[in-house]
Amino acid sequence: MELESHCPTGDIEKRWENHRFDLKLVNPANKRKFDVIVVGTGLAGASAAATLAELGYNVKAFCYQDSPRRAHSIAAQGGINAAKNYQNDGDSVYRLFYDTVKGGDFRSRESNVYRLAQVSVSIIDQAVSQGVPFAREYGGLLDNRSFGGAQVSRTFYARGQTGQQLLLGAYSALAKMIAAGKVAMYNRHEMLDLIVEDERARGIVTRDLVSGKIEAFTADAVCLCTGGYGNVFYLSTNAKGCNVTGSWRAHKRGAAFANPCYTQIHPTCIPPAGEYQSKLTLMSESLRNDGRVWVPKDPANAAKDPRSLSEKDRDYYLERIYPAFGNLVPRDIASRAAKRMCDDGLGVGPVVGDKRRGVYLDFADAIKREGKARIEEKYGNLFEMYQRITGDDPYETPMRIYPASHYTMGGLWVDYDLMSTIPGMFVLGEANFSDHGANRLGASALMQGLADGYFVISYTLGNYLAKKGKNDVGADSKLAKKAVKEVEKKIADLIEIGQKGSTHPDEFHRRLGTLMYDKCGMGRNAEGLKEALEEIPKLREEFWSDVQIVGSGTELNSLLEKAGRIADFIELAELMCHDALDRDESCGAHFREEHVREDGEAKRDDENFAYVAAWEHTGDHGAPKLHKEPLEFEYVKLSQRSYK
């Protein structure tokens, strides 16, 4: 396996422009001869499918939900970054680039990140033209807010529903192209395999989730836009259906998986309340703009009404430890600080397991300063959501928050053109690894998904198709039929086990999640990771002998869907632990407890670990093989991150 990043060289400001000029073009008349498969219809998938169809390609798009509009991008609340500098506060493409590389703790590619910052500007233009109702000032111009990890206001937002509005924009563009007959949309379809032959992706195998029909679809290129794998932790802010299956099955067909241990734990989620908990709900990080995080100084005050505690009894620990950034430090730093407070017995809220897992996020000062109406305007829907879930009114009493799995920076390895190690298979959005390094800054996920879908794949896909031409393997070929048979057999095997099995698939998922939070979560160490690497194969074995599935494969069957996805999560978890163990340094969200600076922060080892770890699958029971792509920094000076 060769890792060739194809990153352009030279002046960083000109790299993307020069690269675009070097890319081959497909002439308009020929575009309509090419078929492209897009899996997933979140921001990356919907924008890619719409854009490619507008260019003239024939697109087949797939989603597991009942409508492309429901993909989990819809749940992003806070906003989207763009280097517009509308606020005249010193922002620039270079600054967004710099902040993103630094925020990612110097584990991303400079070329990719610079391109992301450049196209961020066009994303806002595109979205506004589609009718995305971003927040505005009274003069009619766009409003901005600041966000974690940045000292400028560059975040565009639509109340607390920015992801929803951006997705509806991309979905409307997709709907237009479906109506134009250029996109064939397959709802309630799940990708279960990638068809590869002679080093080229030829198509995919899907299951119709309603009828159970297994079918092959072939195309000249495949774009995976299947999102992240945060649900490996069971309790996460992801939607229940989010899964790694598309990425994982492609990995098993030869796509390298990069930096799987880079998983982001979001600092502002509503703490878990009990055993039946099925997911955790995120409260937008934008709340940290106006909310102040604190815990009681004395553990004896943990159960008291927070309003009864005077200022001198409170520890505003983020403001104390990080005076420059205060409550706006990057996510990983805020998460670990919260965990440290709770581990030290200073947490608040109900006791879950053995300790109180929560810290206060207090709006009393902001309400006093700006008035309830202004706070309601900014965060009304978030406050409502909090009250609905917890029964507490955040206008009256501080919120309780705790970190939860939220986003995965790791993903399938791609080159500068977003192509994986399988030629013809491209990976966009959260599903790839490329832009966020070891930690993603707030409001950058929406930016990356749309950058990849609207403004990158449209150029790079053409280059590939112009060079490689048509794929001659059709859906009725022997190869495709064999791929369908294999998937059918795998499902039949799973059902056969499932009919005798006695453990609900969710039970395996919960056990996996607890194990991963414990050993490969906010803090990791060699000993714990080694233990996890012993426990996961046992869990996997137990799963494959005792998972329970009721019903058949030829109907809507939620247990079968879950079991298939959990099987892949178990395998991924093992790879995550290998990666976390191998990366014997701390960086960004990957916090190895053995490598801590004196001030308690992550201690990077640039000499030995300034590389992308890309893992090759070597068979179901083989050890994964590590390939390294070295990271070089010409523009951003490697430094220890400091937000103090």
Binding site: Q65, Y86, I124, V128, R159, Q164, A179, G274, Y454, V550
Partner: protein, 259 residues
């Protein structure tokens, strides 16, 4: 308030579109439900108990479980998404129910939402309506600078009020005519209010209203049950606004010129 409650739970079971379907009594599976659990987490618990007995779990649509994706939805004691105002099924919590409460759960019912299984219905007719014109025809890359067209804040806010529709279909399930007018009018208002939506305003209105009617949804006769059931509190004012646009559309030709 006690920490757990028992429910007298009745859930609609229907194996497929052609099956007649009936309520099944799951009271014995719905005991000891935590009041902090969400309604869907209650169904999860019931399902785990059903599966442990070798029975097929109740099929229901759900995804984000935070009230934004619009995938979940059931009629709970006769009310789409249950009795709590402006709350999706996934955000309804069991603290809203009394101990030993009688709870009936059934799918969103409308001719244009065929039942797939149990509580799962096919809402693809909503996608069809959007495909008829719920977009601004702007190609990727051709957009002017985002601040080139100032939009008065109150107009932008009003568009946002409409745009936050999650497309769940509760408005249809609540309407005695099974009309999707609230959904349709919200989509129209979002784009028709904004300057970007003006060039296609009347064409969009004509085409989307036609698609709505062709999908078999009924007409609006001002019961306003939709507004009461809408988890996002979308106002029926948008229906009035739509009717004005329909009137103007009927007076203009294809090019938007007054006849």
């Amino acid at each position: 308030m006690s920490e757990t409650i028992d429910l007298k739970l009745h859930v609609w079971r229907q194996s497929g579109p052609k099956d007649k379907g009936a309520f099944a009594d799951y009271s014995k599976h719905a005991k000891g439900i935590s009041t902090h659990a969400s309604f869907l987490e209650m169904l999860d618990v019931v399902n785990e108990r059903l599966v442990a007995e070798g029975e097929a779990p109740i099929a229901f649509d759900h995804d984000c479980r935070e009230g934004i994706c619009g995938m979940c939805g059931a009629v709970i004691n006769g009310v789409p998404h249950g009795h709590r105002k402006q709350t999706t099924t996934c955000q309804l919590h069991m603290r809203e129910f009394q101990n030993n409460a009688e709870v009936y759960v059934e799918p969103f019912r409308a001719g244009s939402f065929p039942i797939i299984q149990d509580l799962v219905v096919d809402r693809s007719s909503f996608d069809t309506i959007i495909q008829a014109g719920g977009y601004v025809s702007v190609r990727t890359g051709s957009a002017p600078d985002a601040n080139e067209i100032p939009i008065p804040k109150q107009i932008s806010d009003r568009a946002m009020d409409a745009a936050q529709c999650i497309g769940c279909g509760a408005c249809v399930a609540a309407c005695p005519n099974a009309s999707a007018s609230l959904f349709l009018s919200a989509k129209l208002a979002h784009l028709n209010l904004l300057p970007q939506g003006q060039p296609e305003r009347y064409r969009r209105t004509r085409q989307m209203v036609l698609a709505h009617d062709q999908a078999g949804f009924g007409g609006c006769t001002n019961h306003r049950e939709c507004e009461a059931a809408c988890p996002k509190g979308i106002s029926t004012d948008f229906i009035a606004r739509m009717n004005r646009d329909v009137l103007v559309a009927s007076l203009t030709d294809k090019d938007g010129e007054l006849i």
